[in-house]
C-alpha cells in the first residue's frame, strides 16, 4: 500500500510539472507576439510593460522564463497589474468561500445521488424507479445559471426567505448557512441527478454478476446482498466522477454559481480574471485548479485501492 501511494504521488508530481510547462507555453510561446503587454493588462504604460518584461524574465531564454514565472507564482509574488492585487493572496482568501460552497453541495448531491440511485436500482423497472428517473432527468436538464436565477428570484425576491447574496464567514454559522443554502441547492441538483443515474446503472451491472447470485444462494437477506455485495462493487464509477467533479469545483470551477450568488471565492475570481483577460491571474488560477484535480485523482486512486484489493495488490491480480 505504501509503495502504491509513493508511486501515485510521484506520478502526480510529474503530471503537475507537465501541466505547468503546458500553461507556460500556452501563455508565453503560443501567441507569436511579445507576452509582456498581455501580462501587463489593457491600459498598461510603456514603462509598466518594460517592468513586466524584466520581472517575468521575458528577455531571457525560455527555460529561464519558465523558472522565473513559476517562482513568481509559487512564492506568492505574482501580481495582477490591472487590479493591482496579489493574485495568490486573492486565491487564498477565496478558498473558505469556495470550500464552503463545494463541500456543502457535495454532501447534498452525494446523499441524494446515492439515495435515489440505490432505490432506483433496487426497484428497477418499477414505479419508484420510473419516478426517480424522471426526477433525475429534470435535475440534469436544469442549467445552473437558470436554476440559480429562478431560486434567487423566488426565494429571495418574491418570498424573501433567504438573504439575497454574498458570502458570510463561518464565524457566524447561522448567517453562513442561510447565505449558502440556495447556492448549495443550485450547484448540487445537476450532480445529484447525474450521480443517481450513474450509480443506478453501475448497480444494475453488478447485480448480474455471478457473485451476487452466490450471495443470494447463501441465503443472505436482500438488503445485505444489495449493500455489501452490490453497492460496494458499484462505487468505482461514482468515485471516479466525484474525484474529477469535486477537484474541478474546488479548484475554481464553480464559476457560474459563485458569480450568480456573488460568493467571493476562487470561481468568482476566475470569472473576473477571464472577463478582464488578466493573464497573471488566469495563469495562477489554472495551476491552482490543476493542482486540485491532480490531488483528488490521487484520493480517487487511494479509494480504488481501498475498495478493490486487486488494485491494491497490483501485480498479482489475475
Amino acid at each position: 500500500m505504501l509503495r502504491f501511494l509513493i508511486r501515485r504521488i510521484l506520478g502526480a508530481i510529474a503530471v503537475l510539472f507537465a501541466i505547468s510547462i503546458l500553461v507556460f507555453l500556452i501563455f508565453n510561446v503560443v501567441p507569436a507576439t511579445n507576452p509582456a503587454p498581455r501580462i501587463a493588462g489593457k491600459n498598461a504604460t510603456p514603462h509598466l510593460i518594460k517592468e513586466v518584461e524584466k520581472q517575468w524574465g521575458l528577455d531571457k531564454p525560455l527555460p529561464e522564463q519558465y523558472w522565473t514565472q513559476m517562482k513568481l507564482i509559487f512564492t506568492g509574488k505574482v501580481k495582477s497589474y490591472q487590479s493591482s492585487i496579489n493574485v495568490d493572496q486573492r486565491i487564498l482568501e477565496g478558498i473558505p468561500a469556495t470550500a464552503s460552497l463545494c463541500i456543502g453541495a457535495a454532501i447534498i448531491w452525494l446523499s441524494f445521488g446515492f439515495l435515489f440511485g440505490y432505490l432506483s436500482a433496487v426497484r428497477a423497472g418499477g414505479w419508484l424507479d420510473r419516478g426517480l428517473t424522471v426526477l433525475a432527468l429534470i435535475g440534469v436538464s436544469m442549467p445552473v445559471f437558470w436554476l440559480a436565477s429562478i431560486l434567487l428570484y423566488y426565494f429571495t425576491y418574491k418570498i424573501e426567505l433567504f438573504p439575497p447574496s454574498g458570502y458570510e464567514p463561518l464565524s457566524n454559522p447561522g448567517k453562513w448557512f442561510s447565505h449558502l443554502i440556495l447556492p448549495w441547492i443550485s450547484l448540487a441538483i445537476l450532480f445529484a441527478g447525474f450521480y443517481s443515474r450513474v450509480l443506478r446503472s453501475s448497480m444494475l451491472d453488478v447485480m448480474n454478476e455471478d457473485y451476487v447470485r452466490t450471495a443470494r444462494a447463501k441465503g443472505l437477506s436482500q438488503r445485505r446482498v444489495m449493500v455489501k455485495h452490490v453497492l460496494r462493487n458499484s462505487l468505482i464509477p461514482v468515485i471516479t466522477l466525484f474525484g474529477l467533479d469535486f477537484g474541478v469545483l474546488i479548484g475554481g470551477g464553480a464559476i457560474v454559481t459563485e458569480s450568480l450568488f456573488n460568493i467571493e471565492g476562487v470561481g468568482l475570481f476566475t470569472a473576473e480574471a477571464l472577463k478582464q483577460q488578466d493573464f497573471p491571474s488566469i495563469m495562477a488560477v489554472t495551476l491552482f485548479g490543476a493542482f486540485f484535480i491532480v490531488l483528488f485523482n490521487i484520493f480517487v486512486d487511494i479509494a480504488y485501492a481501498y475498495l478493490d484489493p486487486r488494485i491494491r495488490l497490483g501485480t498479482s491480480a489475475a
Binding site: 455471478d210 457473485y211 447470485r213 452466490t214 444462494a217 447463501k218 441465503g219 437477506s221 436482500q222 478493490d308
Partner: protein, 358 residues
C-alpha cells in the same frame, strides 16, 4: 451405484416422501420477443446420499431448473409453476424471506466459474464467515472464523489458517472451487446443487473436485444434484441421470440405463460424441448436427426432431415421458420409436451413437 444407497441416513422428513420432490416444474420468462419456456415440465425425486445428474446442452433448461429450486429465478418477469417440496415443505409457496432461511442451511448451491462466483473485494474467509453468520446469529466472529478455517481444511485447502485471509484472486481455480464448496457446506445442508462445478477447471483439478463432491456425498449423506454437459463427469459420480433437451426431460434412468441402454436418440448423440480411449480413434469426432433449438421458436412435436436422423411422421406429436421398456418402469424417455427399433438404430459402427443425418 444404486438409486437408494443403504448408507444414506434416514430422512427426518414428513410423510415418508423423498428428501426433495419436484413435480411438473415449469419456468417461463417474459422477454421482449415473447415468452421463453426455459423449463417445461420437470419431475424428479432425490433421496439422501444420492447423486442425480442433470445433463444437457446450453439452453436445455438444466441451470434454470436448479436455480428455481431455491427461488433464484424469481423475478417480475418469470413465471414459475409446479411444485418443489423439501421434506414435504412446498418451497414454491414460501416468501422470499422464508426462502432465505432455506438457502444455504438446507439447500446449498455452487456455481460454474469460481473466479466470478466469489466477490473479488472480500477475503475468502469473510465470505465463508458471512454464510455462517447469516443463519447462525449466535456465532461470534471468532467462532465463525474458526469454523471457516475448519471448513476450508475439510475440503482440502492446505494452510487454511493463513489462506482464510486471502482474496479469491490469490487462489487457484481449483482452490477457489474448493472454497466455494466449503462455503456451501458451512451450514451442513442436506442438498447440494452443483451447477457445472468442474467446467471452468482443467482435467486433473476436475477429477479432484469430483472426488471431493463424491466423498462429501458419501460421508455426510449429502444429496447432490449435479448439473453438467459432460457425460464423463456423469459417469464418474452419478447414481441417476436426467437428460434434458429444449426445457424438457427427454430421458431419465439410472447411470447404467443411460450409458448401456439409452433410449432417446439425443442421448445416443451425447454418448456418441464422447471420445473414448478404449476404441479406435475415429476419423472425425462425431457430433450432433444442427444447434439446440431457440426456446422462443420450439419446433412442434418432439423438440429434437429437426436434428434427429430417425424422425418419422409421428414425431410431430410430443411424446410423453413414459416407461417404454416392459421390465424397467423407472427408465423413461420421450421417443416414439419402439424399443426394438431403438436397439437396432443406436448401433453406429459398433458402438452407441447417432447416425449421420440423411
Amino acid at each position: 451405484m444404486s438409486a437408494t444407497p443403504e448408507t444414506a441416513p434416514a430422512s427426518p422428513g414428513a410423510g415418508g416422501g423423498a428428501l426433495l420432490e419436484v413435480d411438473g416444474l415449469r419456468v417461463g420468462f417474459a422477454t421482449e420477443d415473447g415468452r421463453v419456456q426455459a423449463v417445461d415440465g420437470v419431475d424428479f425425486r432425490l433421496e439422501p446420499g444420492e447423486v442425480l445428474a442433470i445433463v444437457g446442452e446450453s439452453g436445455s433448461g438444466k441451470s434454470v431448473t436448479a436455480q428455481t429450486l431455491i427461488g433464484l429465478t424469481r423475478s417480475p418477469n418469470s413465471h414459475i409453476e409446479g411444485s418443489v417440496r423439501l421434506r414435504g415443505e412446498e418451497l414454491t409457496a414460501l416468501s422470499e424471506s422464508q426462502l432465505q432461511k432455506v438457502r444455504g442451511t438446507q439447500i446449498a448451491m455452487i456455481f460454474q466459474d469460481p473466479m466470478t462466483s466469489m466477490n473479488p473485494v472480500y477475503t475468502v474467509g469473510s465470505q465463508v464467515i458471512e454464510a455462517i453468520r447469516a443463519h447462525d446469529t449466535s456465532a461470534g466472529k471468532k467462532e465463525a472464523r474458526a469454523r471457516a478455517v475448519e471448513l476450508l481444511e475439510s475440503v482440502g485447502i492446505p494452510d487454511a489458517d493463513r489462506r482464510v485471509d486471502a482474496y479469491p484472486h490469490e487462489f487457484s481455480g481449483g482452490m477457489r472451487q474448493r472454497a466455494m464448496i466449503a462455503m456451501g457446506l458451512a451450514l451442513e445442508p442436506s442438498v447440494l446443487i452443483a451447477d457445472e462445478p468442474t467446467t471452468a477447471l482443467d482435467v486433473t483439478i476436475q477429477a479432484q473436485i469430483l472426488d471431493l463432491i463424491q466423498e462429501l456425498n458419501r460421508s455426510r449423506g449429502l444429496a447432490t444434484i449435479l448439473i453438467t454437459h459432460d457425460l464423463g463427469v456423469v459417469a464418474e459420480v452419478a447414481d441417476r441421470v436426467l437428460v434434458m433437451y429444449g426445457g424438457k426431460v427427454v430421458e431419465r434412468g439410472t447411470l447404467d440405463d443411460i450409458f448401456y441402454d439409452p433410449q432417446h436418440p439425443y442421448t445416443w448423440g451425447l454418448l456418441g460424441s464422447l471420445t473414448r480411449l478404449d476404441q479406435p480413434r475415429p476419423h472425425r469426432l462425431p457430433q450432433i448436427s444442427g444447434a439446440p433449438p431457440s426456446l422462443l421458436h420450439l419446433p412442434t412435436g418432439c423438440a429434437f426432431r429437426p436434428r434427429c436422423p430417425h424422425e418419422f411422421g409421428k414425431c410431430t406429436e410430443v411424446p410423453g415421458l413414459e416407461a417404454r421398456l416392459p421390465d424397467d418402469p423407472n427408465h423413461r424417455d420421450r421417443c416414439w420409436l419402439t424399443p426394438e427399433q431403438k436397439r437396432k438404430r443406436r448401433e453406429v459402427e459398433g458402438r452407441i451413437g447417432l447416425e449421420e443425418p440423411r
